[in-house]
Subunit: 147 residues, 2 copies
DNA sequence: AGCAGCTTTGAGAATCAGTATCATCTGGCC
DNA sequence: GGCCAGATGATACTGATTCTCAAAGCTGCT
């Protein structure tokens, strides 16, 4: 996937620029994140890597995610179930939000320009400089209601 | 504050209707929530009550918050710092969202009709029945940038 | 290649929010 | 006043996240 590779390179470059060195753990975590298209929790990441035979200590997983979040290379997503999830943040600021089905747990990404405009306007009105924003919609998806 | 009292009564009535009994812990928690105008975490609630000399077991705090959330009498708010916060939910569905300043930690509530419309539309477009939605804007407030 | 000084890594301990258990207490009813 | 289902709270537990520290890996130098 072209986008993911772009992100992977971008992330590597930013980290180098921030003065940190490359290491197995970091490369592995970044590679795994790049291969996913929606959010993953630290545990999922850890387990996923282990099942692929390239284990990374859980402490390193959190450490890397932390560094990435610090540099805004990943976006932390909170679906209100008590576990933090992370997904790559693209350099052009492109991003999406999430719809969560309360019955089946399905998570669906979406993005919407008017919504973004409304958010930007609200922040501006209040004198806030917007750094990041999270939108999570909870409800039930068509499939669950049909069932 | 008139609104808070209204909520307190409404909550009491709903709980009674749901078939549960009144008890010290519940009344205390509801009273405390009503006295606040924005979100509180369970720990804050617990500590706040203790410092007022009317301690309630932490288990009861969570239990009561759970019940209230179940009946949609409180909203669970997640500010992405790993702790859940709660605030009274008014019967007419009126609610607000939050702006969080990353420097000073200030949390400021806001509401915005166009934003709400955008959210409703997005959910509809995807075939979701919207039950609840969370919007959290992270940035830096005017005061912090000025400093 | 060998070495020094640095960073990264990961196992395990520690912390912390939230949940489960269970003996005790209590509100509402006879 | 006494009964008893539901409410309470101390405590134990779980699961996510963070901390600690010794071992391992880079990178530049000789």
């Amino acid at each position: 996937m072209a986008t993911s590779t772009a992100w992977e390179e971008y992330a590597g470059a930013e980290l180098r620029r921030a003065g940190s060195r490359t290491g197995v753990a970091r490369n592995t975590v970044i590679d795994y994140l790049a291969s996913r298209d929606c959010c993953v929790s630290a545990q999922e990441l850890h387990d996923g890597l282990r099942s692929e035979g390239r284990s990374v200590g859980i402490a390193s997983v959190y450490r890397v995610l932390d560094q990435l979040a610090e540099l805004r290379l990943v976006h932390r997503v909170d679906l209100a179930d008590g576990v933090a999830r992370f997904e790559p943040a693209l350099p052009d600021g492109e991003h999406h939000h999430h719809l969560v089905c309360g019955s089946c747990g399905r998570v669906e990404p979406f993005d919407d320009a008017p919504l973004e405009r409304a958010l930007t306007r609200v922040a501006g009105d209040r004198g806030f400089t917007l750094v990041q924003h999270d939108v999570v919609l909870h409800g039930s998806c068509g499939d669950c209601r049909a069932a």
